[in-house]
């Protein structure tokens, strides 16, 4: 009796097992197909933040490369406040106009005020002090007197000399 009852049970068990095996095979197959398409299984990861971050870091490294103490893209000296200056001062105008100028704190502040009044510069908040400190520290006025001596003379032999 017991054996008679066991037989259908065995069939059911085998049937369930087979179902499981087939399901697993289908799932594994599906996974393999997916693997072929997307080996990183990126769909199951959080929004692509880590990859984007890596790329952005590389771009930033390239864009803000420092060589021999100089921020290559702008020519500004790598010192405290550099990126505050780059971020706030080189959107509207080139860093070349900064590099050309030598002013004290009052006159840099006056220049910023002029930019706010006429050039659409916004309030710089606490960045203003950082910017002005960077400028007066790294680009202080040079005293050149009433007339400088001629420097950087490019000497050459003058051959043709007729008017």
């Amino acid at each position: 009796m017991a054996k008679k009852e066991d037989f259908p049970n065995l069939i059911t068990k085998i049937y369930n097992l087979m179902l499981l095996v087939i399901s697993l095979v289908i799932l594994a197959g599906g996974a393999l197909v997916y693997y072929a398409i997307d080996p990183d299984f990126s769909v199951f990861q959080l929004p692509s933040a880590p990859i984007a971050a890596t790329e952005t870091v590389n771009e930033v490294d390239e864009l803000n490369k420092i060589e021999n103490g100089i921020h290559v893209r702008t020519g500004l000296v790598d010192a405290e406040g550099l990126m505050t200056v780059v971020n706030n001062c080189t959107y509207c105008h080139s860093a070349k106009i900064i590099l050309q100028n030598r002013m004290n704190t009052d006159r840099w502040n006056a220049t910023i005020k002029w930019m706010q009044e006429t050039q659409n510069l916004g309030d710089l908040g606490s960045n203003q002090e950082v910017i002005v400190n960077y400028l007066v520290t790294n680009y202080p006025p040079k005293m050149i007197g009433r007339r400088e001596i001629l420097t950087n003379i490019d000497w050459y032999e003058l051959k043709t000399n007729n008017n």
Binding site: M83, K96, W114, I153, W155, E157
Partner: protein, 406 residues
């Protein structure tokens, strides 16, 4: 440390943060605008300039010549300095270009197409000296703020156009007119469409002169793009900023024009002399009108070495704003003695004059040849940098070149 902070911040943000736009100007950044950091233009090619020109600024574009590049009697485009207060216009459609004459003191507001201007009014050609008000700024002490021009922000090309006077009279000038102000197509640095990059002008007397023209040709050809194509106001002898490029309008004003760069301390000097570095109130500043007497040795280039016993032939140009240069001298002993140079008359009023001299040196050694022009009112160039002013305008100190006799 700072850099790492920035990198960390940047990873959270977009490209706008990378180029540093976000903090102050992010909101105003137009979509699709490529920031300067990501552009790589070659200004020498773009503007057809001599490779010896010096780029002072690339946003806005400012570029100056060296003295020896200005040797031609009539300056070619390749050697002409570039001065911009704003960004160059992006689209120029000559067929749709118009000039509007308006203002409180115009009788009938009128708009002309380029073709109308060219066909309706008589054409005139003048050689006109245009010098940047800040030419020579780099020599001021304490340093003055702005582009640090040395000697090369001056040129004298040949300009063809119609007289501003003829056009203003066609629209009608009211009796209360005192000033004109120009309007142009260049963009404010912030790209704010409501702001003009530069809108300067001059009193009526200057506007009505024969030589004040609306030019459409330079050196016989279309004006180069960077110098104001297709229409430029030319006011020779005055700060070059009065000669507005990419001209779209002239306002006849019943008061001193108050456009961009007419106010504050722009193109102004203290009405009364001040000590170097002193602060000046805005009401004590006066608008620059005629430029002062000045000259430039354009040959040879500084640094010439010659053999003992040979004479050196020098040449150059001299100009005096609204006036003429009356006398030209040179010195090889730092001003102890001055010898006369040969000076030609100007081709027309406001054109620079050419000078030359045969210079002899008493013995071997290092020399400087200094040049000094004197105008018809007896004003001469100083050997030292003249009166200090906050923005470093009007440095007309003598030019000099170094020479070695071996």
């Amino acid at each position: 440390m700072k850099r790492r902070d920035f990198v960390k911040k940047a990873t959270l943000g977009s490209l706008a943060t990378l180029i540093g736009a976000e903090i102050v100007f992010g909101a105003r950044m137009p979509e699709g605008y490529q920031p300067l950091a990501l552009q790589d233009p070659d200004p020498f090619k773009m503007f057809s300039k001599n490779k010896d020109m010096v780029v002072l600024n690339d946003k806005p574009w400012n570029m100056e010549a060296a003295a020896h590049l200005l040797d031609d009697d009539i300056t070619p485009n390749a050697s002409m300095f570039i001065r911009n207060n704003g960004l160059v216009p992006e689209n120029i459609d000559v067929s749709k270009w118009t000039l509007t004459i308006d203002g409180e003191s115009v009788v009938n507001k009128k708009t002309y197409t380029l073709a109308e201007l060219q066909s309706k009014f008589e054409h005139h050609t003048y050689q006109l000296t245009i010098e940047c008000g800040g030419n020579g700024r780099s020599e001021f002490n304490p340093p003055a703020q702005g582009n640090q021009w040395t000697v090369g922000a001056v040129h004298c090309a040949s300009w063809t156009g119609v007289r501003l006077r003829d056009v203003l009279k066609d629209a009608g000038i009211k009796n209360d007119a005192v000033y004109i102000g120009f309007h142009a197509a260049d963009l404010h640095l912030s790209r704010d469409a409501g702001k003009e990059a530069i809108s300067r002008g001059c009193p009526m007397a200057k506007a009505l002169q024969d030589e004040t023209i609306l030019a459409f040709k330079m050196n016989g050809e279309d004006i180069p793009f960077i110098h104001g194509h297709p229409l430029r106001l030319m006011a020779g002898g005055w700060p070059a900023s009065v000669s507005g490029k990419w001209l779209t309008g002239i306002s006849i004003r019943n008061k001193v024009h108050d456009g961009s760069k007419m106010t504050g301390d722009s193109y102004k000097v203290p009405c009364k002399p001040i000590a170097p570095g002193e602060t000046v109130k805005e009401e004590d500043l006066c608008i620059i009108e005629s430029m002062p007497v000045k000259s430039l040795i354009t040959f040879p280039k500084s640094g010439a070495m010659i053999k003992a016993g040979t004479a050196l032939n020098i040449r150059g140009h001299a100009w005096a704003g609204e006036l003429e240069v009356a006398n030209m001298e040179y010195s090889i002993d730092f001003g102890s003695t001055w010898k006369p140079a040969v000076l030609k008359k100007p081709v027309n009023r406001l054109a620079w004059q050419h000078f030359s001299a045969k210079v002899e040196f008493p013995q071997k050694g290092y020399y400087e040849v200094w040049a000094k022009a004197t105008d018809t009112k007896g004003m001469a160039q100083p050997m030292l940098v003249p009166g200090w002013n906050p923005k470093g305008y009007l440095n007309n100190a003598c030019h000099r070149i170094a020479v070695k006799v071996n």
